[in-house]
Amino acid sequence: MTVSEFFHAGGYGFYLWGSFGMTLLLMAGEVIAVKNQRRTILKRLRRMMRLNAAEVDE
């Protein structure tokens, strides 16, 4: 079986890879979104902490 035959999937490539592709997209997207969310939260919390520290210094 060649690679192109594999992706052709007997003429059902569109349906097969449409399903798998969307799944991959959503799952990868979810992971990336959660990681981004974590980064933003950390950034914001650090900024808030620095702000508090600055206030205490004054």
Partner: protein
Amino acid sequence: MSINWFKYSSPATFYPLAGKLVPWFAWLTAILTLAGLYWGFFQTPDVLSEQKEYYRIIFIHVPAAWMSMWLYFVLVCWALAGLVFNTRLSYMMAAAIAPTGAIATFIALWTGAFWGKTSWGTWWDWDPRMTSELILLFLYVGYMALQSAIDDPRRADRASALLAIVGLVCVPVIFWSVNCPDPTQCAALHQRSGTGKMESNILIAMLVMVFAFWMYAFAVILMRVRNIILERERHATWVNELLETEK
């Protein structure tokens, strides 16, 4: 040996534990997915008697559909635990599960549509199972909408927990009513499905993929619950110490 389970119900102890678990689940997801897809694509016949190569959608369709339903159940269990034991972590877990559940529901619908197009010739059919899945998506969306509409976290937690429980109570009635719109004669499911007549290689690949999906769900839910913990506990001293040490 007795383990104090309530020790881990505190966000401060659960946060690092979850952090340690995430990579394990991520690796398991990767390994199981590769194994399941290898088995599914190369150890199975290309053409079944009735169905052609598109039947391989089953390797993501069925795990996603199962997971979407189980996750709602697990969500309600956490919500219930939250209302009974009044533990904040339970609510956070419930909140972390909802988006993953909604995504699983969407994947099940999407792949179902592609499958439907190939085997029944239509993207959408008001088949009882598809309709039930669609309604499940609505329930997830309602839960998340209520949660994000309430600013006070305590009220948001408890209100959405109650909503999830009410939803679960209604779910059997909804599914049953969708299945039997005429009470005198219940419609048979569009396609009888059974694991018995399935070829064993397909079954193996599908079950491996089910586990892969579960590992993925654990990993991403734990990642999200860590975010929620950080956000909610930002005034706690342990979070501040953590911010100084951890990158």
